[in-house]
Amino acid sequence: MGNALQDDALQNNSTLLGTDELVLNMGPQHPSTHGVLRVKLKLDGERVRGTECVIGYLHRGVEKIAENRTYQQVAPYVDRMDYVAAVSNGLGYCEAVEKLLNVEAPPRARVIRVILTELQRIASHLVWLGTHALDIGALTPLFYCMREREEILKIFEKYCGARLTTHAFRIGGLQYESYDGFEKDVERFCLDFERRIQEYVDLLTGNSIWIGRTRNVGVLNAADCIALGASGPILRAAGVKWDLRKAQPYAAYDQYKFEIPVGTNGDTYDRYMVRIEEMRQSRLICLQAIEKIPEGAIMGKVGKVIKPPAGEVYHSIEAPKGILGYYIVSDASTQPYRVRIRPPSFINLQALDKMVRGHLVADVVAIIGTLDIVLGEVDR
């Protein structure tokens, strides 16, 4: 008799103990979600069983706006998407429209574009490293990274007058000639930068607490990456040695030698190592580029009024966050018919659900950080 009762109780133990799933909300205002991102976590005790991301808090309708502006007027808008790496956004858009027009930027413009884009890649990764380390608890790397990034922003300011949303490139080439001392500044920064990367590596790479917080956290293997569309350092950390700058070179990337860093595990630690190595490679590209900047015009043959023939084009570049693509449809008027931006952060964020399952709540912050999302790009 007693056994039957016990069995009954055991079968109904869900009601006996009342273990339900708890939904925890990491609200739009949160120090660690890197922007206005809302993540609803379904918890089972301490473990995360699933997530639901609510985005759209920063949706500004860039694609709709682009249909009502001329091609040149759209360019400042795209800077504001991934505002941490504005120069790469501009590069992608300008190159896409140049493809639409069947125009190529002159060699000098292409080389300067590469230099600025690689400096921007370093700056973007520095922001990522500082904030990611801060989320995990290391207070100091943030300030070191900001100190380096300050040098890059000074170069941008001297070049085009703006630090963050630069609008550095124009359709067909560049508007501004590189200033006197541009090569010197870039060279000085690059020569100093290796020592600084070593500082970050000393602080974090061998640190057992860092390894404990990042190893085997947020694992995403190669097949999942490709299936989910995750690109950029996430894909490379999973072991896929692929970089759009090498696979389908654009701007002047085919002239420079650089390595593609790959990871093995696809965990947070590997993504950290890949991004550190990418900063090193960007530095090498910059050094190679400033050795020989070709002379010549900086602007291609583009008229004042840009009216591409009707049709469409898709162009993508390797932005610091992943594959940034522009699909532009033209109806032969001065305003684009449709501008579609393929945002790397939006698509990478989809992988959050898969990466977070089975981890503790404290790891969620680390995993969101390792995805390197910028909400401006997620929401556009």
Binding site: H59, G229, P309, Y314, Y327, Q350
Partner: protein, 218 residues
Amino acid sequence: MADESKPPQSPDSQKPESGTAPASPAAKTPATPAPPVAAKPAPPPPKPPAPVQIPLDNELTRRYREQFGAAILDALEDRKQAYLVIDAAQLKEIALYSRDFEKFDLLEDFTAVDWPRREKRFDLVAILYSFPHNTRLRLKIPVAENERPVSLVEVWPTADWLEREIYDMFGVEFSGHPGLKRILLPDGWQGHPLRKDYDILLQDNAWVRENLGIDSGQ
């Protein structure tokens, strides 16, 4: 101008931009008396320059046509980028074939374009990339306004949020999608902004009034 087909030459019909046209009989005799047709037809409006698409016929398109025949409505190349226009009815099969046989393992982007004056209003555009072959392919799927194309989530899981965005911005519903709801706009929003009949200054004032407590967003 080369591929601009000229209308059949009528004796004294003059095209406004035939300034560089070779001398036509009409030009030689500007003062010829009126032809039998009494009313002069109005000069036809200037034709927009034809798009730069050229029909594509390579190995890839031949394989697709072999496999799917009539479902491949068209195969074109625009500025050296290939795209296939396919029928929505066979979307899933074509997608599976592309992923498994043609090795297009990455769905790089999935979006839509609105052509309101066409019968099949929306053009779903899927941009595929193949890692092994390092090539891209665009698939264009014309769908009508109330048509429900099949979801591609089972073929490429990345299509999840991409289809939600298409639904949010254009109103195209995908059948078989695990949880199709708005993604960028709030859940109760009325209207689909990227459609061409949605004015750029339009906002869902009802939602704004209800949720933000102000009269209008403007």
